[in-house]
């Protein structure tokens, strides 16, 4: 009889299982069929219709730029039947490059896309772009044969074209990798109303730095209507602007061959020291650089800065939003960069380029031609965002038409003859290190020019001297690693099988277990696919020099070089580790104490306590980026909420992210983290509610006051929760990213460059994924060790059973 029953059940279970298996098989077959069908269909469609993918960004141009590209592409489709264009616009330039990197790493880059001149050397040296010289040659031939629609590079400003030439080591000559779509020169935007108030003449197109500083000083004597002082000028110290400024004094940061650092030469040092003195030795001549908000193009909008620059044309769309003087705004115009001992300007430009491996080079070229033709350029010119690269369009009313400010469009064009492309070494680290060290010397001023230069040299040398894997590293033995991977998978499967075999005998137990594995299998597969595989891959990658852009096959094997460099030589890494540790030491203990205190307060039976609980938790659910921007205002050292409050109680607040960043940068982030104690508080609250009330009553009768009850009852009873929160907080503190990324970007120098931020910089901005992977593994080890230490040392004081009954 029992056998019979088991048999019946077996049959039933079998039927259900068979059905499930059939459904699963059907799904798999259907999926394969669909993929196959799509692959076939695509091949079919290819014969009839070509699909091009185009990717671009729309930064300052916003929706309008988006629309211009869209219109242009649709017109192209209409003119070229059989070609369809898919457009991608990830947003601003930052998102664009992140997406591009992802697509390239996946081996599916867009066919045609924007490339900023500053990335050209990097992209070209990574062999990501297709040279277009053959097409250009063909166009020339066509034109010679009388084809008027053929592309004529001679019609473009030569500097803009040269910006997309790369000879294997430097930009400016060599193979052409794109057609410039537009460009800008740089200069200063000035507030005409303030110039009139100061009684000084407007800048001319051939003004000098002496004129500039005299005007800035005169402007700084003014007071705004509300009594606030007027600042002479905003002077941004972005790397490209610093280098352009140096050229106006006949100096250079690096020689033309991009080999020799020239920043230590006397005229370079002198120029930098002059700039530093203007900012730091004179009150009100230049914006102080103390404030992180009051910097960049937007300071000009407030009307309390006489001049702002050096900026290119891209600020114009937002400056056009400045109301007329009648509506409380002011009049403004543009003047090209002043000259010093030399005349110089820079060309900042963006091209349309094509991916090296595009399957449709002919159509891509056609599209690039279309997107850079006179009509497209004229449409772009109306946007005001940039200068057309085609001379005829730039000098046409489409650009020069002065119904909208700035009136001095000629100023941009006048600068062109002296303007050159600022070539950067292909390794983007140069620009980043240069930027962050110059920032400290020139803007925040916590280093002297001399110190900034020394730091730049030291960091750059460390970087250059590090050649992972030596001169000729072997390629990664992917076949061996796949074999190891498959072996690992096999071992896993074997372990699994062993587990099954070891299963307790007996029909019921085995059936139950099988059901268990069946239910867990989606998770197991998910884990293997989406967690275990990437984790193990990153371990392999950490021993390669993979750039994170381009195929994995391009990676070389460098062994433990990345680790050795990180641990023994990379000063930036050491700084980032120290910053993070400093932060953790402040944020974790104080934050946890605050959270516990808040939880204890929230335990009180007060009317409306639910509201307060919600209110305290609220910050934890707000979006990190928006919150970070708010906190940037709070910590602003000039007029920031916090420093104003400190001022009221008679304390001079530090320059959190300025010259005091070494001592106060990490603490600022810690203070910010205290705002987010709500999450921990909720966990503590749940723990507190688990403590039996009788324990408190017993302690009360035993004569313990509130303090003693807290330390003798609450803390021990809560100890497992405290341990949990502590470990979570320690892990969290090593993962600080969003706040730092948004608020400071790691600046000044590397003083707020948290561990993960540096990791991000390395992986996604400096294209060193192998190095970043090594950092990730070191981070894992650090967190593992810290957690282990905490667990070990806490075993004696944590009372686990308190949550059990």
């Amino acid at each position: 009889m029992p056998d019979d029953r088991a048999g019946t059940r077996w049959t039933l279970g079998f039927a259900v299982r068979a059905m499930l298996a059939a459904v699963a098989a059907l799904l798999v077959v259907a999926a394969f069929a669909r993929v196959t069908y799509r692959a076939v269909a695509r091949t079919d469609a290819d014969a009839a219709e070509i699909v091009l993918t185009v990717m671009h960004w729309s930064g300052e141009g916003g929706q309008e730029e988006d629309k211009i590209v869209e219109d242009s592409l649709r017109a192209f489709e209409a003119a070229n039947p059989g070609v369809r264009v898919k457009r991608l616009n990830p947003g601003d330039a930052g998102s664009f490059y992140t997406k591009l990197q992802t697509m390239m790493a996946a081996g599916e880059p867009p066919d045609v896309f924007y490339v900023g001149y500053e990335r050209l050397a990097n992209f070209a040296s990574l062999d990501l772009l297709r040279p277009i010289d053959e097409f250009v040659a063909r166009e020339e031939a066509a034109r010679a044969a009388g084809d008027a629609t053929a592309l004529d590079l001679a019609a473009f400003y030569p500097q803009t074209v040269d910006a997309f030439r790369f000879d294997g080591s430097r930009v400016g000559t060599g193979t052409l990798y794109g057609v410039p779509k537009d460009f800008t020169t740089v200069g200063f935007y000035y507030n005409k109303d303030l110039f009139r108030a100061a009684g000084i003449p407007f800048p001319t197109n051939d003004w000098t730095w002496d004129d500039f500083i005299a005007k800035a000083r005169a402007l700084s004597k003014l007071k705004a209507k509300d009594g606030e002082p007027i600042t002479g000028s905003e002077f941004v110290t972005w790397p490209v602007m610093v280098r352009t400024y140096l050229r106006t004094e006949g100096a250079e940061a690096i020689d033309d061959a991009l080999e020799e650092i020239r920043i230590e030469e006397p005229n370079a040092v002198r120029a930098l020291e002059t700039l530093r003195a203007w900012r730091h030795d004179e009150e009100g001549t230049l914006t102080s650089g103390k404030s992180r908000i009051a910097t960049g193009a937007s300071v000009f909008l407030g009307g309390k800065v006489g001049m702002a620059g050096p900026f290119g044309r891209w600020v114009v769309p937002s400056y056009r939003g400045i109301p007329s003087p009648a509506d409380g705004g002011f009049e403004w115009d543009f003047a090209p960069l002043p000259r010093g001992s030399a005349e110089a300007n820079c060309v900042l430009t963006v091209s349309w380029s094509m991916a090296r491996d595009t399957p449709h080079p002919e159509e891509s070229w056609k599209l690039i031609k279309w997107l850079t033709n006179a009509e497209s350029q004229a449409a772009n010119a109306r946007l005001g965002l940039a200068i057309p690269t085609m001379k005829s369009v730039a000098e046409s009313p489409a650009f020069l038409d002065a119904t909208l400010p700035p009136a001095n469009n000629q100023g941009y064009l006048d600068a062109i003859p002296e303007a050159t492309v600022i070539a950067w070494p292909a390794d983007p680290t140069f620009e980043q290190i240069f930027g962050s060290t110059m920032d400290r010397g020139l803007k925040t001023g916590d280093l002297t020019v001399r110190e900034a230069i020394d730091e730049f040299n030291a960091k750059w040398r460390t970087h250059v001297e590090f050649v992972p894997g030596g001169m000729n590293p072997p390629p990664v033995a992917w076949s061996r690693w796949s074999a190891i991977g498959i072996a690992a998978l096999g071992a896993f499967a074997a372990a699994f099988a062993l587990l099954l075999l070891r299963a307790p005998k007996g029909m019921n137990a085995r059936r139950e277990e099988r059901a268990g594995f069946l239910l867990a299998s989606p998770w197991v597969v998910g884990f293997l696919l989406f967690m275990a595989f990437p984790i193990l891959l990153s371990l392999v990658l950490s021993m390669t020099n993979w750039k994170g852009i381009g195929p994995l096959a391009s990676a070389d094997w460098v062994g433990t070089d990345n680790y050795a460099q990180l641990l023994s030589r990379d000063a930036r890494f050491h700084t980032s580790f120290k910053v993070t540790l400093y932060y953790a030491l402040l944020a974790v203990p104080v934050g946890q104490m605050l959270a516990l205190l808040a939880a204890v307060v929230m335990m009180q039976k007060v009317r409306g306590i639910a509201f307060f609980r919600a209110a305290w938790y609220l910050p934890s659910v707000l979006a990190g980026v928006g919150v970070a921007i708010l906190w940037r205002w709070i910590f602003d050292s000039e007029g920031g909420l916090l420093n104003r409050a400190l001022e009221v109680v008679g304390i001079a607040g530090p320059e959190w992210f300025g010259k005091d960043a070494a001592a106060f940068g990490a603490p600022a982030f810690a203070i910010m983290s205290f705002w987010l104690v709500g999450g921990s508080m909720m966990v503590y609250l749940a723990g507190l509610q688990q403590i039996p009330r009788e324990l408190y009553e017993a302690a009360e009768i035993d004569g313990a006051g509130p303090v003693r009850r807290f330390f003798r009852v609450t803390i021990p009873m809560l100890s497992p929760v405290i341990l949990f929160n502590l470990i979570m907080a320690v892990i969290g503190s090593f993962q600080v990213f969003t706040q730092a990324f948004v608020m400071t970007g790691g600046e000044p120098g590397d003083l707020t460059r948290f561990y993960v931020l540096y990791l991000y910089n390395k992986a996604f901005e400096l294209y060193d994924m192998g190095y970043a992977s090594a950092m990730a593994w070191i981070l894992l080890l650090i967190v593992l060790v810290l957690t282990g230490v905490i667990l070990k040392t806490s075993a004696r004081v944590v009372y686990y059973e308190s949550l059990r009954k």
Binding site: P692, E694, E697, A698, I701, D702, A704, V713, P716, M717
Partner: protein
């Protein structure tokens, strides 16, 4: 040893929707030195609230609480010199048995901090204090048979051992009054009876004043010098256990005290007889006609031949044989009645048998109508 006196004590809670909940209503109670006073009643009767007010864990809404003649209404719990044993013992799970027992002594020591004592030159005094605590803990644990468990944690103890630790923690401080809040209800039946006896013996040895709360009337009766029966926040009867059993002050007490509970039937009394549902039984005294309730304890019921004089015709509904006695549930015109008879007398009684039920008029209790109708 101390006296505890409650005078017109009220406890009013703010209930839902602003309604007032009167948990304790005008309680008057005088507990003498060394008396074992048990508050008993169904759950929600206010007995625990009363105890917690004595302890100082609940505020007294109105009335006066005196310990040893001094008003202590506003004295915090720790200054009332009382000890409290909780139903779930409330042992500190992170402390050993010894530390649990010493907790109250530690909090009360003069030199709490070793460092402060050393700095103020009182290190010697502190050491003496420490030794004193140690001795006291040893003493207490010996009394309770806990001396081998001092270094165990509560989680390693059985229920009975934990209960003893809770008692040990209470007696360590030698307080004036012990308060027990259902201390035996988490033990199994056998252990409960054993511990009950131990508690009784402990009381005799300590001679302490004890206020003890339980909902178990049997436990209450076995322990109490004075039994206080509570219902709906009011004291129903305050007397010795025997008196509560023999002469229940009202219908509630009659029904609550005694196992199995008293048979109580609503009806009328007229002349010397009680009548309900057409069936009359003599009550042994002449009374003016009035409606009332008649009560007879099951063990005063006798089974007689059907249709005997002064008996009630009934059918046996259930027979429960307890060995020496047998409980017989009967369906009668007076409703369901329970008779507890000698096993020998009921040897042949079977379910569905027709029988007669009788009782002596001397064993009749009469109560005024209503849930808490007074004894007539």
């Amino acid at each position: 040893m101390a006296t505890v006196t409650l005078t017109k004590v009220d406890k009013v809670y703010a209930g839902a929707n602003g309604a007032e909940v009167r948990a304790v209503d005008g309680v008057d109670l005088a507990i003498r030195h060394g008396e074992f006073c048990v508050l008993v009643g169904p759950s929600g009767c206010g007995k625990s609230t009363t105890l917690r007010m004595i302890a100082g864990l609940e505020e007294i809404t109105a009335g006066v609480l005196e310990i040893d003649g001094a008003r202590v209404n506003d004295l915090p719990a720790k200054d009332r010199d009382i000890a409290f044993v909780f139903q779930n013992y409330a042992l500190y799970p992170h402390l050993t048995v010894g530390e649990n027992i010493a907790f109250g002594l530690e909090t009360r020591r003069t030199h709490r901090s070793a460092l402060a004592a050393a700095l103020s030159g009182a290190a010697g005094a502190r050491a003496a204090e420490t030794a004193e605590i140690k001795t006291r803990v040893a003493e207490v644990s010996k009394t309770l048979g806990l001396d081998t468990l001092l270094h165990r944690y509560p989680r390693e103890l059985s229920g009975g051992q934990r209960q003893r630790v809770a008692v040990g923690r209470a007696i360590a401080r030698d307080p004036k009054v012990f308060l027990f809040d259902e201390p035996l209800s988490n033990l199994d039946a056998r252990l409960r009876i054993e511990t009950r006896t131990e508690l009784r013996m402990l009381h005799r040895r300590l001679g302490a004043t004890i206020v003890y709360v339980t909902h178990d009337q049997e436990e209450a009766m076995t322990l109490a010098d004075r039994l206080v029966v509570m219902h709906k926040g009011k004291i129903q009867q305050n007397a010795s256990a025997q008196e509560c059993y023999d002469l229940p002050a009202n219908r509630f007490v009659a029904g609550f005290i005694g196992t199995p509970p008293m048979n109580i039937v609503d009806g009328r009394v007229e002349g010397g007889e009680f009548e309900s549902n057409g069936v009359r039984m003599p009550v042994g005294r002449l009374m003016a006609p009035r409606s009332c309730a008649l009560g007879v304890r099951p063990d005063r019921m006798r089974l007689v031949r059907p249709n005997s004089d002064h008996s009630i015709a009934a059918t046996v509904a259930a027979v429960e044989r307890l060995g020496d006695r047998t409980d017989i549930a009967l369906d009668s015109p007076w409703g369901r009645l329970l008779a507890r008879v000698n096993a020998d007398d009921a040897a042949h009684v079977r379910e569905t048998d027709a029988v007669g039920v009788a009782f002596d008029a001397a064993h009749v209790h009469l109560f005024a109508p209503g849930e808490c109708g007074a004894r007539i």
